[in-house]
Symmetry: C2
Subunit: 451 residues, 2 copies
């Protein structure tokens, strides 16, 4: 849908709302996809927003509700009666409902669950039993399962009967009596099969499944690797618990990438989107690492204080301070970022750390020589051949050391079962600063005393 067309349609709805023509409003938005109605809601004044939301048919209001940010959901909920809330909860898809309940404080969860019938409540609680960030939180029990001894014709009838309530019927699951998963078969293979034959005839029993306790990141990688539309979730005995669909996984992948970007810049991952985070929230997420880095920087001050006598040998040494510490930080950020990203998309396994390290030692030496030559030139021009030699040799050593630290730190963090993304560019820069200063002043003291 083009932006212009969307804007025209939105302004028509606003006009109708102003004229209080409720039936026309309802007819107008009837066919809109949930995200478009969501955008329109957010652009409205609070009163109009509530009016429009209550005008939506239940199925549609549930879809829009699922799409909204937690903050806006709470605002809308406060405006609804208990019965309206119950209707809304019932019409949310199970995984969206879990997602919503999960974000409420404990007491509110209890109150909400009391509004649901026993069946739906059990479903929501079942889904809630799994740790945050686990596949269990992402799965939906709305899939279609058939038995291997059924005919394809009977299976198709069953699919037709159950299809309307299911998240997807693009993949059909074959289970046995105790609900053990036997196969995952694309719907098209049922449609192309002979209706009188048994389902068994189109089974190959080759399928990929995942545990509900696995990290959501693993679901992302499996769905990407095998180009799956949906991934079945099975427990340790192979019992089918639910499915995870590609659209939920794409959202997880995007969120994880956003978190990794924030971590790379030493920002504690934001709870909401950047757009919806207020000034105070942003401040709270950014200040902790900044202050930690200030404290770490005391080491650098200490190093300079300790080498005061060396600095006094030539004031020109100070000119190259920013160049040398910045270059070290830049090189370290590069290798850290490359290694962190490769680890996070599963391109290199932690056990391959020696290979990654060997590669980075090679790259670091090449970079060191190139940057060392450039630095020698600058040093020569500004301070003569002694300074040129000092700056060049320092650059060579700092770049090699920085490159190794940048690559090694995320690998070490992974080995220690910590998040490799903690090795942010600012942290690497600060660590390498102190080390770079020690290298620089040691080489300076040695060479300037030598001649």
């Amino acid at each position: 849908m083009s932006d212009v067309r969307e804007m025209e349609k939105s302004s028509r709805v606003v006009e109708l709302l102003g004229r209080r023509q409720w039936a026309e409003v309802r007819r107008e938005v009837e066919d809109w996809p949930a995200p478009d109605i969501g955008d329109l809601l957010l652009s409205l004044e609070k009163l109009d927003r509530i009016v429009l939301f209550r005008l939506l048919p239940l199925e549609q209001s549930a879809a829009v509700f699922a799409w909204l940010d937690p903050r806006h959901r709470d605002d809308l909920l406060l405006s609804l009666s208990d019965d309206e809330t119950r209707q809304l909860l019932l019409h949310l898809k199970p995984d969206d409902r879990t997602d919503f309940l999960e974000e409420l404080p404990g007491m509110a969860v209890q109150r909400m669950l009391n509004l649901l019938g026993p069946e739906d409540r059990r479903e929501a609680l079942d889904l809630l039993g799994y740790p945050e960030g686990s596949v269990g939180r992402l799965m939906t029990p709305d899939y279609v399962a058939v038995r291997s001894f059924w005919t394809i014709g009977r299976a198709l009838e069953h699919i037709r009967a159950k299809g309307a309530d299911s998240e997807t019927i693009n993949v059909i699951y074959v289970t046995d009596a105790p609900w053990k998963l036997l196969d995952a078969i694309e719907l098209r293979r049922f449609m192309l099969g002979e209706p009188s034959e048994a389902v068994e005839r189109i089974m190959d029993c080759e399928f990929v499944s995942i545990s509900p306790y696995d990290d959501q990141e693993k679901a992302v990688q499996l769905i990407k690797r095998y180009d799956l539309y949906a991934l079945p979730v099975a427990d340790s005995r192979g019992i089918l618990l639910g499915i995870v669909t590609f659209d939920d996984v794409m959202d997880v992948a995007e969120e994880e990438a956003t978190e990794d970007f924030q971590k790379a810049a030493a920002v504690t991952p934001l709870k909401a989107s950047y757009r919806d985070s207020g000034t105070l929230e942003l401040f709270r997420r950014r200040i902790p690492w900044l202050l930690i880095l200030v404290v770490l920087n005391l080491v650098s001050s200490g190093v300079i204080a300790a080498y005061q006598k060396t600095l006094a040998l030539s004031i020109t040494l100070i000119f190259f301070l920013p160049l040398l510490i910045d270059s070290g930080g830049n090189v370290g950020s590069q290798s850290a970022t490359l290694v962190i990203r490769s680890l996070s998309i599963g391109e290199i396994a932690p056990r391959q750390w020696l290979r990654a390290l060997a590669k980075e030692i090679g790259v670091g030496m090449l970079l060191g020589v190139a940057m060392g030559i450039a630095a020698t030139g600058l040093g020569l021009v500004r301070g003569g051949w002694q300074i040129g030699l000092v700056v060049g040799l320092s650059m060579l050593s700092i770049v090699i050391v920085a490159n190794i630290i940048g690559a090694l730190l995320p690998l070490l963090l992974t080995k220690m079962r910590l998040d490799p993304a903690t090795a942010s560019s600012p942290l690497i820069t600060t660590l390498i600063d102190s080390l770079g200063l020690v290298i620089y002043f040691s080489i300076a003291a040695w060479i300037l005393h030598l001649f």
Copy 2:
């Protein structure tokens, strides 16, 4: 599939290869998904690799070939006869074939295209007419289309007949005689419909489509926003050209995120994966920005040289150099990263730059006050109240300025239709260094002369 099971199966195949039991090898790998065979191939010696690849049935070898990296594809191709190559090309899915042909030098493309029949050749060339990074390069013409006046029963028959050759039948497209796209309908709605009714009865004519000239990034955002399984591609007159499926789009999203990570660390995006990039390739992608940053750093050296007299007022000023320039860089990296990521996932539009800027001015002031207080404390302890005042005020000003520059630079780049991700952390750090030094020394000169 568990890693252990996969390893066991792999070692069985290796054993069979060693015993030259070709038929058994073939039977063993028959059911394996392409990525698993691909991994096995890569772990084999070159000769075994070629033998195993030639043993695969054509459909399977084409799928494995599509999964392999360009470098490994070339190796395998060299080992095939012209006829084998032709068979392989014919069995690749059209979009995989384009992807493959695109990476070959021009002459080789011609030779390969000559191996294809006129029909397939036209398909590959059609797909090749669109610019790199455009949706046209990603689309496949393998979809199923039906007419609105057909009965649902006839449509289902048509779907059954065409389904086997199509990329997906989960979404069916309704077109008119000149192939104009009228609707995109989920297969389940055909299955749940009454066979004797017209297709028209289940149409709502609400669908999202994209132009082949649009950026692939736009396809990612549409598929994510509307949770689509496949996105139809239509030209300016609405004629259906092909479809883009979610699995291709997930790959694009991952690649784009990886490129953004590399740019954020001032690395020119790698051509291949990190794992497959050699030492020289990595060096070539990393050294340009590092050298540009060395040159930019000359400004910092110049600033220090210009303020030599101020520095001579108190040697203690040097202690705080790394702290102040690092903190500026850290704050700038944070705001730049937050803004770049929000722009790239479409969370803030470039026209909302004033709102983003206003927010960052607020956050910057809070950060400045907090960091300023910490810096004043450190300055007091090391150099007395005058130095405390200088360091604290400098920190306050540097943090506010750095935060604004970090947020503004990516927004400005976007306004100038350049890539906002060019505002990498190392670039921001270097730019803020010089500015930070000027601020620091000016405040120092003013306060130290005042008292």
